[in-house]
C-alpha cells in the first residue's frame, strides 16, 4: 500500500505501534452499538488520523473487509488518512470573509506556509484547512488556530500568526 503521501516527520510511529494504538482505540469504545463508522471515529480521535493499519484493524474488529471499511472512510471528508501537523490553521472563505478580503489573507498564508493547497507543510508541522464558515461573520475575515478564533485579519496579521506558529 502506498504511504508516499505521509510527511517526512522524524518520529513516525512504526506499523506495529499504529496497529496497537488502533486496536486499543477500537476496543475501548464505550457506546452500546459499535459500527464501522464509530470505530473509525474512535481511531481518528485517538490517532488524529486513520492510517492504513487502522483500516485493516477495523476490518478485523468489525468482521468486515478492508474494502468495506475504506468505502465508509473515504465517504466522509472529516476523516483524514495522513498525520496532521502539530497545529492546524483554518482559513475561512465564507461569503462574509470573502467580501472582507479573505482571498488576500489566504494568499499570504499560502506564501508564509510554502503551500499551494490545503494540507500539511513540507515539514509536516502545520496543517492548513479551508473552511466554508467558521461562524464568526462579524469578525470577518477570520482564521482559527487550533480551533481558537482570530478575527479581523489582514494579510500582515495573518502572516504574524503563522510566524508565531512556526516558531512554536
Amino acid at each position: 500500500m502506498s504511504d508516499g503521501t505521509k510527511p517526512a516527520s522524524d518520529e513516525l510511529p512504526s506499523s506495529d505501534e499504529l496497529r496497537d494504538r488502533s486496536r486499543t482505540a477500537l476496543q475501548s469504545q464505550q457506546q452500546p452499538t459499535v459500527t464501522v463508522l464509530s470505530s473509525l471515529i474512535a481511531v481518528q480521535d485517538a490517532l488524529h488520523y486513520i492510517p492504513d493499519e487502522a483500516i485493516e484493524e477495523t476490518a478485523t474488529h468489525m468482521k468486515s473487509t478492508i474494502n468495506d471499511v475504506w468505502s465508509v472512510a473515504s465517504f466522509y471528508t472529516n476523516f483524514r488518512f495522513t498525520p496532521p501537523g502539530d497545529h492546524t490553521i483554518d482559513v475561512c472563505w465564507g461569503p462574509s470573509c470573502h467580501l472582507n478580503g479573505a482571498q488576500n489573507v489566504m494568499r499570504r498564508v499560502h506564501t508564509e506556509l510554502g503551500v499551494e493547497e490545503e494540507g500539511e507543510t513540507a515539514d509536516g508541522k502545520l496543517t492548513l484547512r479551508y473552511s466554508t464558515c467558521l461562524g464568526a461573520c462579524a469578525l470577518a475575515p477570520v482564521i482559527a488556530v487550533d480551533h481558537h478564533m482570530k478575527g479581523r485579519m489582514s494579510p500582515d496579521s495573518a502572516a504574524a500568526v503563522v510566524d508565531e506558529l512556526k516558531g512554536a
Partner: protein, 930 residues
C-alpha cells in the same frame, strides 16, 4: 391453495405476476422490455440509475416509478414507453453519458465504422466503441440505442483519465468506462459475500475500487468473475481473448468440480473457446462460477493437444493409427490376469464414459478394479449407500440458503466446490450460524460463529461429543426420532461413553466450545451439514460419515427444506460415477457385487458376465495395489495434486492412457489415445446434488480425438467384448436408464436446457429435490452406535509435527506487500507465520518471532510449503502446527504457470508430517532475499 397471482396491465397487455415481484421482473417474465442498468437478476433492488422508470397507476394514484424497486400491485396499470417516460429516460441517460465515452453510442453509423475510420464527428480513437473489448456484447450500448438519443448533447463528456489496472491475474479493469451502477460491488458483496470491491469516495467522484486502491490479491478477491459477468460496460473484462468476438454461444456445464455450474461458452470463428460466463438460469450454479471454471477453460484450445494415437516403440512414443493403437492396447491388456488389470476413469468424464468404463472393466477385462480418478473415499460411498440408501447429498445446493445453521466438517468448499460456499455465505449473511470443524484455517472460518479446531483425526470423537450434549440437553427432534428412526436405544447407550471431559481431552477442544456448538446445531433447525474427508485417514471415512449422519438424524435435519447432509466430493462427476457403477464395490444402480442376483440382473440386461471378486479403489490402482496393466482416462486427473499418489502414477507394467495433452501420466504410457475434452462432447454429468445435466459440444474435434466412451468401446470391440456397438452417447444413455433405476425417466432430449435431480423413476417424474421427505414412503432411517476413540498418533520420530496447511482470501491483520514482477504483474509478499503450541516452542528453544525452517516428510503428494516461517504461539494442540497462506498465492501461481490445464493442478490442503528447526539468524538483507 389459493391463487395468489397478481394481475396487472403492462402496455395494454394483461399479465400475471407473483406477489413480491417488482414491475421489471414481472414485465421481463412477460417478455416486455424495460431498459435498465443497475438492476441485475438475482440482486436486491437498488434503484440507482433510474433508467427503468415507468408510469404507473394503482389504487387511483398515478406516478412515475422506478420499476426495479416498485412491487407489483393488483390491477396496476403500467405504461413502459409513454412520451413522458421516454423523455425522462433520455434526460437521465444524457447525464449518465457525461461519464462514459459516447460518441459512438448515439451515432447511427456505429455498426458501419471500423476502428481506424475517419470520423466526421471527431470522436477520438480511444473513445470509440469499436476499440472497446465489450463492443459486441455491451449492455450500455444496447440500452442507449433503445432510447434513441440525440447525437448532440449540451453536456460535455469528462474523461476520467485513470490508469487501467492490468496487473492483477485474469482481470482487466478500466474505470474510465465505469458508469458506477455498482453491479460489480453488489455481485461481490450481496451475491458472493466477499466484498473485495466497494464504492469509494462520494458524490461526483465516487467510483468502484478497493481499499486504498490496492491489488485484488490483497483485497480478498476469490477471482470468481461474478463482477465481470455483471458489468454492463467495458470496465471489467477477462484479459484472455479480450477482444475476441463470439460467433456462437453454447450452453453447457462446467466439469471442474461436483457443483456443475451451468455455463455459456463463447466460441469464435476459429473454433476456440474465448469466454465462459455463468448461466443465470442455471439451477445448480445460479449464474455463478469460480476461478477454475471462469478462467480455466483454455486448455481445449491449446496447440499442444494430443492429436493422434501413439504407441511406445523402442522406448519412444510414436504416432500411429487408431487400429494399431487399439490392437497394441488390447494385446498388452490380454497378457495379464483379470485381477491384475484395472481402469481409472477421468474425473471430468461423463456418465456415458463412466458407464462404458465399468462395463468394459467388468465384462471384458473381468475385474471390478474400476474407479473414477478423484473418488477419494469409496468407503464413504459404501456406507452412504447402506445407511440412508443413497450415496449422495440429500438436498439441493441452494437449499443451504434456507438453513438456520450450517456445519462444515473437514472440507474446504471455497476452493474445492467453490459455488457450494456461496449459499453458505448467503445463509450466514441472512443470520444463520456457521460451525466450522477443522484443524486448518479455511476461508469459511472467517464467517463462522464458532470454529472448533480439533486435534487432527479426532473429528469423529468431537461429533460424538456434540451428539452427547444434544441428548443430555434434550435438543434432539423427538418427533423425528420417534417416527423415523431405528436403532435409537443402542445409539443412546453407546453415546454415554462420550464423557465430555474425556472428549475434550482427546480433541483438545474445550467442553464449553463443544457445548456451544452442539446447542447452536441442536437449536438451529433446519440445519445443513457439509462433510469432507480432508485430513481424515481412509479407514475412518465411514465412521466419520456415521457420526455426521447420527447428528443430522437425531436432530431431524434430513428431508426438509434447508435441513440436509452434503458430502463434499472432489471429482466433477464422482456422483455420476457412483450412480452408474464406476466404483470397485458397486454395480450400476447401487447393486452389490457380492449379490449373485444383482450380478445376474446386470448380465441379463447388458450381456457379459460380471465378476464377483471385489475390486480395488483408485488409490490402490494408482499406488501399489498389485495391478500390472492399467487403462487411465486422464483428462483433469492430477493424482499428485489430489493426494492420491505421490510422485505421479507409476507405470504398472503396461499402461494405456487417454489424455488431452502429454501430461505427466500420459508421458509414462505404452499406448496413448487422444481424448476429447468436456467442451467437445455430448453427454451427461451428475453433480453433487444428484442433478443430471447435459453437456453440449462447443468445439468441433480437429483431429483424431475421441470421447472416453468411444475409446473404451473401441477397445472392448477389439478385445472381443459384446454389447459395445454404440453409435452415439445418447445410445449409451439409453442403456444407462435401463439398468440404473434412478435414471429411468431421463433421456438426453429431456435434459436439454435443464438438469433434473435423480431419482427420476419414470418419464412422468419431475425429479427429486429432497430425499427422505417425511411420509413419502416407508423410509425409516437408522442411527448407528459409535465408540469414543483415542487419537491416532501421527507422530513420527523424524517428523514430529502434524502441519495443517490453511488458506484464506485475506488477512487484514497482517502486513502484506504487493510487489510487481518483471512483467508488471502483482504478487504478494508476506511473512509466513507458523502457529505452534507454547510447550512445543519451549522444547524447540524458540520464542515468538523466531524464524524456523520447515522440512516436510517426503510424501510427494502435498502442497508446496514455505521453507521458513516466523513463530507465533497460538497452536491449540501439542504436536500440531499450522501455516495459513493466501489464496492470492494460488492465483498468481496459475498466472505464472506454463501448464496447459491448470485447474486440476491446484493443490488441496492435506495435513503433513513435518519437522521444525530454528533457523540460523540472518541479517536483515538476507531475510528480505528469501
Amino acid at each position: 391453495m389459493a391463487d395468489d397471482t397478481i394481475k396487472l396491465t403492462v402496455d395494454g397487455q394483461e399479465i400475471e405476476a407473483k406477489p413480491g415481484q417488482t414491475i421489471i421482473q414481472a414485465a421481463q417474465d412477460a417478455d416486455v422490455y424495460i431498459p435498465y442498468l443497475c438492476y441485475f437478476p438475482g440482486m436486491k433492488p437498488y434503484g440507482a440509475c433510474r433508467m427503468c422508470v415507468v408510469s404507473t397507476e394503482a389504487g387511483g394514484r398515478k406516478g412515475i416509478q422506478a420499476s426495479c424497486t416498485t412491487p407489483v400491485a393488483p390491477d396496476m396499470i403500467v405504461e413502459t414507453n409513454t412520451e413522458e417516460v421516454a423523455d425522462l429516460r433520455r434526460g437521465i441517460t444524457d447525464l449518465l453519458m457525461t461519464e462514459h465515452p459516447h460518441g459512438c453510442l448515439t451515432c447511427h453509423r456505429a455498426e458501419l465504422c471500423g476502428p481506424q475510420d475517419i470520423c466526421q464527428r471527431h470522436v477520438g480513437v480511444t473513445d470509440r466503441c469499436t476499440i472497446c473489448p465489450k463492443n459486441e456484447r455491451c449492455e450500455l450500448k444496447d440500452t442507449v440505442r433503445f432510447m434513441k438519443l440525440d447525437m448532440t448533447s449540451s453536456l460535455n463528456y469528462h474523461r476520467r483519465d485513470l490508469p487501467i489496472h492490468t496487473d492483477d491475474p485474469f482481470y482487466d479493469r478500466d474505470y474510465n468506462l465505469c458508469i458506477v451502477c455498482a453491479r460489480c460491488v453488489r455481485a461481490c458483496d450481496e451475491v458472493r459475500g466477499d466484498t473485495a470491491l466497494s464504492l469509494v469516495s462520494r458524490s461526483g467522484v465516487a467510483l468502484v475500487g478497493t481499499s486504498h486502491g490496492t491489488s485484488l490479491l490483497e483485497s480478498g478477491c476469490e477471482f470468481c468473475g461474478s463482477c465481470i459477468d455483471a458489468c454492463p460496460t467495458g470496465a471489467l473484462t477477462e484479459r484472455n481473448y479480450k477482444w475476441e468476438k463470439a460467433s456462437s454461444r453454447v450452453k453447457t456445464v462446467c466439469a471442474n468440480c461436483p457443483v456443475g455450474c451451468e455455463f455459456v461458452m463463447d466460441v469464435n470463428d476459429r473454433n476456440k473457446i474465448v469466454r465462459v460466463s455463468g448461466d443465470l438460469s442455471g439451477e445448480a450454479g445460479h449464474g455463478q462460477a469460480c476461478f477454475k471454471g471462469k478462467f480455466g477453460y483454455d486448455y481445449p484450445n491449446h496447440v499442444r493437444r494430443l492429436k493422434y494415437p501413439m504407441v511406445r516403440i523402442d522406448g519412444e512414443l510414436q504416432r500411429t493409427t487408431w487400429e494399431v493403437a487399439l490392437e497394441a492396447a488390447s494385446q498388452g491388456l490380454s497378457q495379464q490376469l483379470p485381477e491384475e488389470r484395472g481402469v481409472i476413469l477421468s474425473p471430468r468424464g461423463t456418465n456415458e464414459d463412466h458407464y462404458v468404463g465399468q462395463k468394459f472393466a467388468r465384462t471384458v477385462l473381468g475385474t471390478n478394479n474400476v474407479d473414477t480418478g478423484l473418488n477419494r473415499s469409496a468407503e464413504l460411498l459404501a456406507t452412504l449407500a447402506e445407511t440412508p440408501g443413497h450415496g449422495t447429498a440429500t438436498n439441493p445446493i441452494w437449499g443451504i440458503e434456507q438453513s438456520n445453521c450450517v456445519v462444515v466438517v473437514a472440507g474446504n468448499p471455497t476452493e474445492e466446490q467453490n459455488v457450494l460456499a456461496v449459499p453458505v455465505k448467503k445463509a450466514v449473511r441472512a443470520g444463520a450460524s456457521l460451525i466450522v470443524i477443522d484443524p486448518r484455517e479455511t476461508e469459511l472460518t472467517r464467517y463462522a460463529s464458532i470454529w472448533l479446531r480439533p486435534r487432527p483425526g479426532t473429528e469423529i470423537t468431537l461429533l460424538g461429543g456434540m451428539a452427547r450434549v444434544i441428548l443430555d440437553e434434550a435438543l434432539e427432534n423427538k418427533d423425528f426420532v420417534r417416527d423415523r428412526l431405528d436403532g435409537v436405544d443402542e445409539f443412546k447407550k453407546a453415546i454415554w461413553s462420550f464423557d465430555l471431559m474425556r472428549v475434550s481431552q482427546i480433541t483438545g477442544v474445550s467442553e464449553d466450545e463443544i457445548r456451544t456448538a452442539a446447542r447452536i446445531y441442536g437449536n438451529g433447525s433446519p440445519a445443513s451439514l457439509l462433510h469432507g474427508t480432508d485430513g481424515i485417514v481412509a479407514e475412518d471415512h465411514s465412521d466419520l460419515l456415521a457420526a455426521v449422519m447420527n447428528l443430522a438424524l437425531m436432530t431431524g435435519n434430513i428431508g426438509s427444506d434447508g435441513g440436509g447432509v452434503y458430502p463434499l466430493f472432489w471429482g466433477a462427476n464422482t456422483q455420476g460415477g457412483n450412480d452408474v457403477g464406476a466404483t470397485p464395490n458397486l454395480l450400476p444402480g447401487y447393486r452389490s457385487i457380492s449379490s449373485d442376483s444383482h450380478r445376474e440382473e446386470m448380465s441379463s440386461a447388458t450381456g457379459g458376465t460380471y465378476p464377483r471378486r471385489p475390486g480395488v479403489s483408485v488409490r490402490e490402482m494408482a499406488g501399489d495395489g498389485g495391478i500390472k496393466a492399467l487403462v487411465v482416462l486422464a483428462d483433469g486427473w492430477n493424482p499428485d495434486a489430489a493426494a492420491i499418489t505421490s510422485g505421479g502414477l507409476v507405470n504398472p507394467g503396461f499402461l494405456v492412457v487417454s489424455d488431452v495433452f502429454m501430461s505427466d501420466t500420459a508421458s509414462r504410457a505404452d499406448v496413448v489415445f487422444p481424448a476429447a475434452t468436456y467442451a467437445e462432447v455430448s453427454g451427461t454429468i451428475t453433480n453433487l446434488e444428484r442433478r443430471v445435466q447435459k453437456i453440449n459440444p462447443a468445439l468441433e474435434l480437429r483431429h483424431e480425438e475421441r470421447e472416453g466412451w468411444r475409446t473404451l468401446a473401441g477397445l472392448a470391440n477389439v478385445m472381443g467384448g459384446s454389447g459395445f456397438e454404440y453409435g452415439s452417447s445418447s445410445e449409451v444413455f439409453e442403456e444407462i436408464r435401463r439398468v440404473v433405476p434412478d435414471y429411468a425417466g431421463l433421456t438426453h432430449a429431456r435434459l436439454e436446457g435443464r438438469g433434473i435431480q435423480t431419482p427420476v423413476p419414470d418419464e412422468a417424474s419431475r425429479g427429486t429435490e429432497i430425499l427422505f421427505v417425511a411420509g413419502e414412503s416407508e423410509n425409516r432411517l437408522s442411527v448407528v452406535p459409535m465408540a469414543i476413540r483415542e487419537p491416532i498418533s501421527r507422530r513420527n520420530g523424524e517428523y514430529p509435527f502434524t502441519l495443517g496447511h490453511g488458506r484464506v482470501l485475506m488477512r487484514p491483520e497482517e502486513d502484506i506487500r504487493i510487489v510487481q514482477d518483471e512483467r508488471n504483474m502483482n504478487h504478494v509478499e508476506r511473512d509466513t507465520w507458523i502457529e505452534i503450541h507454547p510447550e512445543d516452542a519451549a522444547d524447540l528453544g524458540v520464542v515468538a518471532g523466531d524464524r524456523v525452517t520447515i522440512t516436510a516428510q517426503a510424501d510427494g503428494s502435498a502442497s508446496p510449503l514455505p521453507e521458513t516461517g516466523l513463530i507465533r504461539m497460538s497452536s491449540p494442540h501439542r504436536g500440531f502446527v499450522s501455516v495459513t497462506t493466501l489464496f492470492a498465492e494460488v492465483v498468481t501461481g496459475i498466472q505464472d504457470s506454463d501448464g496447459i490445464d491448470t485447474s486440476p493442478s491446484v493443490r488441496g490442503l492435506p495435513l503433513r508430517q513435518v519437522s521444525l528447526a530454528k533457523a540460523p539468524v540472518l541479517r536483515e538483507a538476507g531475510m528480505a532475499a528469501d
